[in-house]
């Protein structure tokens, strides 16, 4: 302090000026706090939030935990195969999603759409695909193509197609227009402008998004079997519902290992892609 008060080089000496007056935010902050408390308080009543029961029923949790801490490896081979099925569902689901997202993403980008109506239609189509959860799609496809991994893969692909399409169209809207103009200025056709001016700019980001969604698809695929979409999810649902804790523990363990392994591999590739 004494150092500062001595000499601020180049700044006038003398008493420090008073700070200019500023508006008080007390009223605004108070009202915000009150409103948030009201909203969360109401929501707590709606969801029947009872934290005390968690403590009271600690004994029951102990019973569960005993089973889960002693996983059974009797059906390990079958569960492991179902994990492979799950990865395959996610692989093909993501591929289908890419095939859906590329045309939708190109048409749904404001700077590429041939007409406002096309842009609007593509945007709304992607909204619908994203708004409907993959489980809802799975229930619909199970009635259409029957129980099994094919229905699950279709459900994942269509929902993720909407998500990837929106990410792609927003990536395209943020590209450098100068580079696109440079290609269009030589008299290239629309497809050529996209292939040479747009694709090189969006490819790294799009690849990264595809891999991120693949990781997320693995997590979805691991539970989509609960509604008949094939994969390990059916066994998860079956063992938990039958209170077969030791089997359920094995299934959960395998899912965790599978998700971790895929995440590691995928993030390695993602770093290579960029």
């Amino acid at each position: 302090m004494s150092v500062l008060s001595g000499a601020l080089l180049g700044v006038d000496a003398g008493p420090a000026p008073a700070a200019p007056p500023r508006d008080s935010h007390f009223g605004r902050n108070f009202m915000t706090t009150l409103a948030l408390a009201l909203v969360f308080g109401t929501a707590a009543r709606v969801i029947e939030l009872r934290p005390l029961e968690l403590v009271r029923d600690a004994g029951n949790i102990g019973v569960f935990l005993r089973g889960y801490l002693h996983p059974s490896f009797a059906h390990l081979g079958e569960y492991a195969w179902q994990c492979v099925v799950t990865v395959c569902i996610a692989l093909w689901g993501t591929l289908l999603a890419v095939l859906i997202s590329v045309p939708l993403g190109l048409l749904g980008a404001r700077n590429l759409a041939p007409h406002r109506a096309v842009y609007f239609a593509a945007r709304r189509a992607m909204d619908v695909l994203r708004a409907v959860n993959e489980f809802v799609f799975a229930l619909m496809f199970v009635t259409a193509v029957g129980l099994g991994p094919f229905a699950g893969m279709l459900a994942l692909g269509i929902h993720t197609g909407g998500v990837l399409g929106k990410l792609l169209s927003e990536t395209i809207e943020s590209i450098d227009p100068g580079q696109v103009e440079g290609v269009a200025a030589v008299g290239a056709g629309r497809l050529h402008v996209i292939a040479f001016g747009v694709v090189p700019q969006v490819l790294p980001n799009f690849l990264s998004y595809i891999l991120l969604r693949f990781e997320s698809d693995i997590r979805s695929a691991s539970v989509i079997g609960m509604v008949g979409g094939g994969g390990i999810g059916f066994y998860l649902w079956d063992t938990i519902r039958a209170f077969n804790d030791r089997e359920a523990a094995t299934v959960i363990l395998l899912i965790v290992l599978m998700v971790m392994a895929v995440d590691v591999v995928s993030s390695r590739i993602r770093r290579l892609a960029i």
């Binding site: 440079g182 200025a185 030589v186 290239a188 001016g197």
Partner: protein, 296 residues
């Protein structure tokens, strides 16, 4: 053409030169103009960017457009490139009226006009050679149009691209990504792309504004050299009067959207400069001006 009722400044200049030699007013350039503007104007909302500009540009000319920021230089150039359309008057390219062009005819016009930009506008993540090959996109036909989507160009096109790159002295950079090059090198790649495009006219929008004076000099030299070699017409907007004086055969001066000067560099005296800029423009600093003077 010479008896047009419209205010055709170029024709006025030629007739003045002719009367000085006391000869009947005949066109000095026997060729028909490559670009003719007839009362071209452009209005953006309430902003009158360009007002009734009439001028003709003849094949092989190096034309500089000068003026302050916002005087309409870029708007005029964008109208010539048909990146935008004039709201009144007409612009003719050869015997084609640009105002009504769309679709295939517009793409054909763009192929005939090579663009050079201040920010180079190369595709940064593509290799240098691919950027030059982009110049060939207006020339591919038939099934090749699909093959080039996967970067499969014909042997002829690849030869042309290598030749153009060699011409600009950048053959050794062919496999590098465009964004690893310096600004001056990127602008030379842009010129190579235009050479591969084989246009009739080069339009350059502030081609040297983001380069230092030595690189700017090299770029302007290259532009003039390739233009002379292929008898190309060049129209360039230039911030610095000194560049315009050194390189242009003709100078168009814009002020607030109006064409206030149309003549040779020799005609551009102090009074005319004040008319265009409102004051005498500051010269490039000593060393830079020296570098330019060495060329004159």
């Amino acid at each position: 053409m010479a008896c047009h009722a419209s205010l055709n400044l170029h024709d006025r200049v030629t007739s003045r030169q002719c009367s000085a030699r006391t000869v009947a007013p005949v066109m000095t350039a026997p060729m028909s103009p490559v670009i003719s503007l007839d009362g071209a104007g452009k209005v953006y909302g309430n902003n009158r960017a360009l007002e009734a500009v009439s001028a003709t540009i003849h094949p092989g000319q190096f034309v500089a457009i000068i003026g302050r920021s916002g005087a309409g230089k870029t708007t005029l150039l964008r109208c010539l490139a048909r990146a935008t359309s004039p709201t009144r008057g007409s612009i003719r390219f050869g015997d084609v009226d640009l105002t009504g062009l769309h679709g295939r005819a517009l793409r054909l016009h763009r192929r005939r006009v090579g663009m050079i930009y201040q920010q180079f506008n190369l595709v940064k993540r593509l290799r240098v050679i691919d950027n030059v090959l982009v110049g060939r996109l207006g020339h591919v036909h038939g099934w090749r149009r699909w093959a080039v989507l996967a970067r499969r160009f014909s042997a002829v096109d690849r030869d042309i691209a290598l030749r153009c790159l060699h011409q600009m002295g950048l053959l050794d950079r062919a496999w590098q990504r465009a964004d690893t090059l310096s600004g001056g090198e990127q602008q030379r790649v842009a010129i190579a792309r235009i050479l591969a495009q084989q246009p009739r006219v080069i339009l350059a929008d502030e081609p040297v504004a983001s380069l230092d004076v030595l690189n700017g000099r090299r770029i302007m030299d290259s532009l003039r050299r390739v233009a002379t070699a292929a008898n190309l017409t060049v129209v360039a907007t230039l911030h610095h009067v000194d560049y315009a004086r050194t390189y242009a055969d003709r100078i168009l001066g814009l002020r607030a959207g109006r064409l206030v000067f149309n003549g040779t560099p020799a005609d551009l005296d102090a009074a005319r400069l004040v008319e265009i800029f409102g004051e005498l423009p500051e010269p490039l600093d000593g060393r830079e001006a020296g570098a330019l003077a060495g060329l004159a």
